[in-house]
Symmetry: C2
Subunit: 286 residues, 2 copies
């Protein structure tokens, strides 16, 4: 489907703003600025709901980081609050930088998104053992605050945020692990047709099992393993019905067009108290 002719309207791509976020870096790499327009949102939940309401054609949100794990708000809203499909997966290498306005000899407070701070925890403690780490809504918000000239502040953010807000980089690549990647997904209101795709695909579902019976997760996993369907990820989240009740997200290699995948998914659906599919989608490496 041509995005530029999405329902006869101009395609609008939504993502977590403001300008200078990692989501924006991904959006600009995935889409041609001359063919689509972009809209930023102040939080992930609002960005996802803008796809559901039709305010944007597609939305780009982070779903997992290789150090910090799941982005819980993304999983929870996809499970409980909207009916959307994953149309693409993008794995994005994260390069964090420590950004200041002018002085770097007296950093007392380091601001950023909590996941960015967590991903640099060791290096920040080494560089500035006495600095306080303070949470903000986004890495770009943190850069904006530091750019305002507030004294003794530094921000953790992307190189593009540093450039956008005219900040100096005290230290580059300060993420604690060199394998730090974030997995983004592109969401839409219909599943993609993977039939004609040559790229490798994945399929994602979420379900709730009968938690009263010991071994029910084990039985579900057997549906995958007996068919040699490779699970790339299993993630539990609260079912929101009380402590100890969970839903499980499964990501697997292969498209639903594949017989083994389709048969395993159908068997899991059959055994679940509640089930939802996010469709099959290509994996994009940038």
């Amino acid at each position: 489907m041509e995005l530029s002719s999405w329902f006869g309207k101009e395609a609008i791509i939504g993502y977590l703003g403001p300008h200078g976020t990692y989501s924006e870096e991904v959006a600009f790499r995935l889409y041609n600025k001359e063919q689509v327009s972009f809209k930023t949102y102040s939080s992930i939940d609002v960005a996802i709901k803008a796809v559901e309401s039709g305010e944007v054609s597609q939305g780009i949100v982070p779903v997992e980081n290789s150090l910090e794990g799941s982005v819980n708000v993304t999983l929870d809203i996809l499970a409980h609050e909207v009916n959307l499909y994953i149309r693409k997966e993008v794995i994005w290498p994260v390069r964090h930088n420590l950004l200041v306005k002018e002085h770097w000899d007296d950093v007392k407070i380091i601001v950023s998104h909590p996941q960015a701070l967590a991903q640099c925890r060791h290096n920040l403690r080494r560089l500035y053992p006495d600095a306080e780490l303070r949470a903000m809504n986004s890495t770009a918000d943190a850069a904006t605050l530091v750019a305002s000239g507030i004294e003794n502040y530094a921000a953790v953010g992307s190189q593009s945020a540093g450039a956008l807000y005219n900040l100096q980089t005290i230290a580059g690549d300060i993420q604690d692990s060199s394998t730090n990647c974030t997995r983004f997904i592109v969401l839409g209101d219909s599943p993609i047709d993977t039939h004609s795709l040559s790229d490798p695909c994945k399929t994602s579902v979420v379900c709730k099992m009968n938690g009263e019976r010991p071994g029910s997760l084990c039985e579900i996993l057997q549906e995958f393993s007996t068919r040699n369907v490779n699970l790339t990820r299993i993630e539990s989240r609260p079912a929101r019905t009380g402590m100890g009740n969970y839903i499980f997200f499964f990501d697997m290699d292969g498209s639903i067009e594949n017989n083994s995948v389709r048969s395993a998914v159908e068997a899991v659906k059959e055994k679940s108290l509640w089930f939802k599919s996010f469709g099959s989608y290509p994996i994009c490496t940038l």
Copy 2:
């Protein structure tokens, strides 16, 4: 063991501060103020490491919320950075309140710990659809900021934080779910002897499987299910060795003194590339 004679020193209990946090509410309920002294820490990681270094005898940290799921920093530090044991589990009902200094007709910015904001997301959007939600390090920090008299701000926090900082409650019990609980654990540098305990116990371990082999998680789960050991929780976290590599936390009913539990844990250890036990501990309901 008498806490008050901990290694001949006065027992010190560490927890996430400042005063007015939910961790403090739990600490004050668990320990007699006349027998121990308390020490607050500005972040969960520092509180846990204070137990490892011996700066405090025991530490109380949140590990899971029934709506928001795992407290990732707690799991990650327990797995990767310290060698500590769980000595007790406490399930604490969370009651969030919306707190203001004076005026409640013009709330534009609502501050709190990101998990507290997430737990009230629906009610906050209903009460103040246009308000911006802004992350802070703790619910108590948020209450302190609002108490400073900053205009158009409200905080989400406990009733005791409201009382401590002389704030008014606009709305009580604003958590989105009435079953909202947080699970806290008490950490120490040695495992508890559950032999003589009459309380129900749990046992917790973490391990890394051979992720290259499909079905390896399934095989581990079978070690529990064939012995009728009930898993109360399975949680995956990044192994920190790259996207797609995970470690798995298992909580199970029963103490390691129980033959089935011990045998299952030994079998899991045998099958794991890496394994760590957090011991067995009583479940405490307050």
